[in-house]
Subunit: 233 residues, 4 copies
């Protein structure tokens, strides 16, 4: 008898399939999780299972507190410990990890994605930051957990609100993005890739171009977010 | 009973759907309007409505003179005031706003798209200009209207004929293009993207390459436009 | 009663449709012709007719000697006089003109496409040349014919065999390619675009990279062409 | 009566068709072979046969020892002698040769693909090397065999383990990749193209960016390979 998947497993499954079709991931790379804070758990993609073989019941429930897999389930994504640290520190409902090409490029070269225009400001209220590299000790032991901790350190150290800038570049690695729900997390990952592509092109043509006035960034961000938003119906 | 859409609403709806399929817009970004000068109104896409849910009757009629929505309608595009100023100043029948990647790149880096060859000259008789940045005061109050005014200022200040160069880059933001009708406006937006892509590539390889002789630009523009055109049947 | 198309018109029609599907042309830009030297005529695409409306009988027969349209036919491509000069000077059976993006980039920046590797040498035995710019006088009178003449001048002046390098870049304009038949002309235009793309990328990363040894270029060219070819069955 | 293909011919045929659909090859360029070491033979794609006309029985068995075609078969790929030298020197089950655009770019400019991040390290434990150019003598006589020998020389001279770095760039030519079986060889060729694309973009934006710490490269490589791998189920 087939195992019945929960609603959260269904949602995480559908979002991972959407991610696979988005062009943001390569092969089985990339993973998406969502959280149920009341139940104290997150659900995440299993590790290295081909997308065409995954089912909703394969999505792995993991305790937010202990990191243990709940019940009988496949091995969770190798990046599970990273997701857990982000849920513990950030106010978000879903997290996505991709190797999307242009965001990964900035991660690989340890560069922030500057906020150069209104397309960026519509989604991210300022530059998308890059972490410091992990130390050899952080790599050798609890690598994935330390990846999460260095992300949190980056936001806290630079006083960036993770709700206003819902993405990060892990140095030499790749991006993470998040949002209140899986659809928003994927949308943020898509726009992250778009603005990374623009910023790469800008850097290759006009490395001295500067950011717009702070007024313009705030204007566009606040047109779409917060109590005074006036975009949409 | 369903509201019956006017012919102009139908045309604007169809053109917005074509725009969505063109690859020139991302998500619900981008909008297209058309004008009925005899009736004193323009019709524009509603704000933030997913393309798959839009119907012709959702297209919003707006008074050219007052900017007021005519009748009961969804909220119009947040860029409505920009379109209005362009119709008031320019001789055109339709306007399109996109975030197409390469034209946006030039907008973000505040650079004109130089007329580097005959593909450009077939559509635009010279460089596509970029506006000055808006001032903080222009951003804080009537931002969208001021965007239109700064576009008009750019054409008048540089003595550019908006019929001969039917597109502009708004600094740090994105492009607008126009034409006598929606199909021509979209075609101009497509070619704008094409020549922006070429000019970006040229700048990254050969920043010292210079524009062709003015004779060649005029030759190609006038082969396709004006009383002595000899292209086509 | 529908006009019956000749075999050459059929072939030129099919090749123009293949060209439209190739991604090498934009809109109605681009054209392909083929020659029947025994009959003293070439057949070429009509000017500015949308691809979806063209029929084989619309392909225009033109006298190789006089340049006159033969019989009742649509207006031929505005580039007809260029094709005629190439057929008069070069040993080829079909000519294609595109605005393919990367070859056009090299034309716009007046740069040759250097022979940097074996992919290039499999098709072109050396650099693809670029013409000098046309003079104002050459632009003002018989522009299209002078375009053909300056291409021929480029090959003769640089002692390039048009069979071994079946393509050229017209300064500030776009490429032409040719071959013994329409299929080969299109294949050469495709490979031209491929090697232009590679050379642009090489120039942006490693402008000092140099061409391979002449031995390697000849080895690859002669593996596929001439009496000692040993590629294929 | 149709010739019955062996299981190895079937596998090589299917993999070549997958290669043709992968976007890694252009036209009939590119070829894939697989080896049966117990039987002392490899099977490889025939030379210059259009993909749509190939059948499993057209795949050519070649003696590993003598290089002779076994039985009645089409002429094998012109790169056959290169494949043979690689099988003789390297511990692999399948080899693929492509002209994929970005890997070819590095080959054409004689540059290694540096290991700049975790996506690269997941597949290749360090830089992907480039061979020295062949000498005129090596080009004039036994060109394809010498191509194989210079690849082997590159790995031995630089003490690179061909299992840990299953790809190479042949100077001025194009890449080869390999793996334990055809699927893995194609996957390695795909990832090679991906990391080449990233490294080109990095070089054009941030030529001074440096490789990550060796710890990070080993961590990612060993997460997926070897006795202590913990990725997947």
């Amino acid at each position: 008898m087939a195992i019945k998947a929960t609603a959260l497993q269904e949602a995480v499954y559908r979002a991972n399939m959407e991610l696979a079709a988005s062009g943001l991931v390569m092969g089985t790379f990339g993973n998406l999780s969502a959280v149920d804070r009341a139940a104290g758990l997150m659900v995440i993609k299993p590790s290295g299972v081909p997308y065409e073989k995954m089912t909703p019941a394969d999505m792995v429930p993991v305790s937010l507190k202990t990191g243990d897999v709940i019940g009988v389930a496949p091995r969770p994504s190798s990046d599970t410990a990273t997701h857990l640290e982000l849920y513990r520190a950030f106010d978000c409902g879903a997290i996505v990890h991709t190797h999307s090409e242009f965001a990964t490029l900035f991660a690989q070269t340890s560069r922030v994605i500057r906020c150069m225009g209104t397309t960026h400001a519509d989604y991210f209220r300022g530059d998308v930051p890059v972490t410091r590299p992990l130390t050899p000790a952080e790599i050798d032991s609890e690598y994935e957990r330390n990846t999460g901790l260095v992300i949190v350190e980056t936001f806290r150290g630079n006083k960036i609100d993770s709700r206003e800038v819902p993405a990060v570049l892990v140095a030499h690695h790749a991006p993470f993005a998040w949002g209140p729900d899986p659809a928003k997390a994927i949308e943020n990952a898509r726009v992250l890739e778009f603005v990374a592509r623009l910023e790469w092109r800008g850097q290759t043509m006009a490395p001295d171009a500067h950011r717009p006035d702070r007024h313009l960034i705030d204007k566009h961000y606040l047109r779409k977010h917060g109590p005074r938003a006036y975009y949409g119906q």
